[in-house]
Subunit: 344 residues, 2 copies
DNA sequence: ACTTATCGCTAAATCGATTGAGCAACAACT
DNA sequence: AGTTGTTGCTCAATCGATTTAGCGATAAGT
């Protein structure tokens, strides 16, 4: 029940707790503890299976060896995968992860930040919601180690790791045009999330680079708060509202999934009646018939970089800012073949 | 940087830290602290935004208000969704969640348990791997609040929350027979996970109830450790090895996903050439053409029950054991319609 | 012989909250 | 007056590890 403490070891070794602490923290040399005593202590610690009490240590040192992970939705394919690798990588450095989902809700995000501060996490990995600026600023001001994930706040220079959203969307749009599609629509969300904005910008930039312009009516913005059913209905009427629509781009995975449902309900065939690209990959996109072309994010790289940057902050408290932008990859699948029967 | 401590409040209020502690813990009445002093302290605490230091509190009380969540794979649709709701529900009780994935690897599971003990979590939610019995037994012996998730250990009476795997699989098999399929195969994993065994048992029981028996060659066991590619190849040759195969059941979602890939690579059409059912639901199953019939687990209920049971343990330390078995639902989709063109 | 240095280790304070024991002041009662 | 009770609060120990300051003993230097 009760654990073995440093005192128990001290008593059995016939030395003081101080000495035990020095030895167990690898400061034997530095503190000039004799070999004999060192060995005796190490042996005893192993024998008694001593595990330092993290609370006591944390109380004294102010470090909890815990990091907070705030994502938009841990159940989302992208974030769940990031969370998995973040946990694995953090573990290598002796850190554990506390997580929470914001649902893109500012209040939830604030709540999570508060709880994590309260819990004295050593560092933060944050997928910021819109308007979280002040809170992030406060963290930054308090010099808390922190990395933003998936998106950043344009007005606040911080560490972040994300994908090149502009380029990813640009490539997608360009590809659609190369494939010969004429009427290309885009579906995004109303929320002012920067990564969504950049995806839209990338898309529009490609359109403008190759076409005379992009009519506003080819752009649909859905509210994040809408229910799944509402969203699907909106997408359906959007699609119906555009005569001769032949391609459509969705700026994130859950929109793409809604999009598939909408198209299906409209009795249209992806790859035949309409070309289809979504940002983010998903099992569904890979295995759908035809496969759904997507802009894939390098999830492993993202997660590893996040931990790398955070550990860097945690250890060397340099003032240097790390902003990592990784390339997104266009995975070409059947959904964008023109006119032919794309089912493979 | 440094937080407001109970001493700061005490000093400003002109009372002792003890008094402040009593008031802030709602023991003002019990400890007969006057109204005036109480109010003054509460006001000050609010004004100074006092946040009790969890480490100090934990060190003294032995409670961390943290629970450990061990799943097989946090990136898996089922576990990711459970994790999300577990976090939300735990939050309502003031608990935070530390998580980790076992990958169904005994050593990883042991490692996670060790770290969580070390971190002094108050309670455990565990998806046990095979052979984790001793460690679970030890936790139980130490009277640690604990709930098993998704599966249980037959030799150890503990709390658990899971779905009725036998019934779910039974229903699936029975449904396939009712639909008129003759040659029905099943794919599961070699691992001795109890929930997998029960799914297989349920399947076999239904077969035996309606048929003369079940030939061993219609059953395929895949190693959990196999790579995705290997698994798909094995499924392909399994399918090819059975002449006139007309239906197939997969005992878990990732197997079902492999199965879809395998069938696709064999140029067969689900719902036309072969009927298809998988345990667990997934976006892919819902949206595939045709929709994949599946045995769906009530994820919300599972997660809520898990927290309920755990909180019960945490608060009243009764010796009562809670074993919750929730019904699984067969979601009928196009993948099992016989002979007709099932694409919708 | 006397100062200074080095070695090997320890005492005690500290982190912040909790809690059992107990104290001063006054009231009530015999 | 003396005992007992009540009220309203405080003292000080405690949880377990870390860390600063420093002590006694021996060795080295002058």
């Amino acid at each position: 029940m009760k654990g073995v403490s440093i005192k128990d070891i001290a008593k059995q070794a016939g030395v003081s707790p101080t000495t035990v602490s020095f030895v167990l923290n690898g400061k034997a040399k530095e503190k000039r503890i004799s070999e004999q005593v060192s060995k005796k202590i190490l042996k005893l610690a192993a024998k008694l299976k001593y595990k330092p009490n993290q609370l006591a240590r944390g109380l004294r040192t102010g470090k909890t060896k815990t990091i907070g992970l705030i994502v938009e939705d841990i159940a989302n394919h992208f974030f769940a995968n990031v969370a998995k690798i973040v946990e694995e990588e953090a573990d290598k450095y002796g850190y554990k992860v506390l997580y929470g989902s914001t649902e893109d809700n500012l209040q939830k995000a604030k709540g999570l930040l508060e709880v994590l501060e309260y819990r004295q996490v050593d560092g933060y990995i944050i997928t910021p919601t819109v308007n979280l600026d002040k809170d992030i600023e406060a963290l930054k001001h308090a010099r808390k180690p922190m990395v933003l994930l998936d998106r950043y706040l344009p007005n606040i220079p911080t560490n972040y790791v994300m994908v090149n959203n502009f380029q990813g969307a640009y490539d997608a749009a360009e590809y659609l045009m190369q494939q010969g599609f004429e009427k290309i629509a885009v579906v995004t969300i109303t929320s002012e999330q920067i990564q969504m904005k950049e995806r839209l910008d990338g898309f529009l930039a490609a359109m403008k680079a190759h076409r005379s312009g992009f009519p506003r009516k080819m752009l649909k913005k859905l509210s994040f708060a809408a229910t799944k059913e509402e969203a699907i209905e909106e997408i359906k009427s959007f699609i119906k509202s555009i005569p001769n629509l032949d391609a459509i781009f969705f700026t994130t995975n859950y929109l793409g999934i809604y999009g598939i449902e909408a198209v299906k309900e409209l009795q249209m065939q992806i790859g035949e009646d309409i070309a289809f690209i979504s940002f983010d990959d998903h099992d569904l996109f890979r295995l759908y018939s035809p496969g759904i072309t997507c802009v894939s994010q390098p999830i492993h790289d993202i997660a590893r970089n996040v931990i790398q940057v955070l550990m860097n902050e945690l250890n060397n408290n340099t003032n240097q800012i790390n902003q990592v932008v990784l390339p997104a990859t266009l995975l070409k699948r059947g959904s964008c073949s023109k006119g032919t029967n794309a089912r493979i």
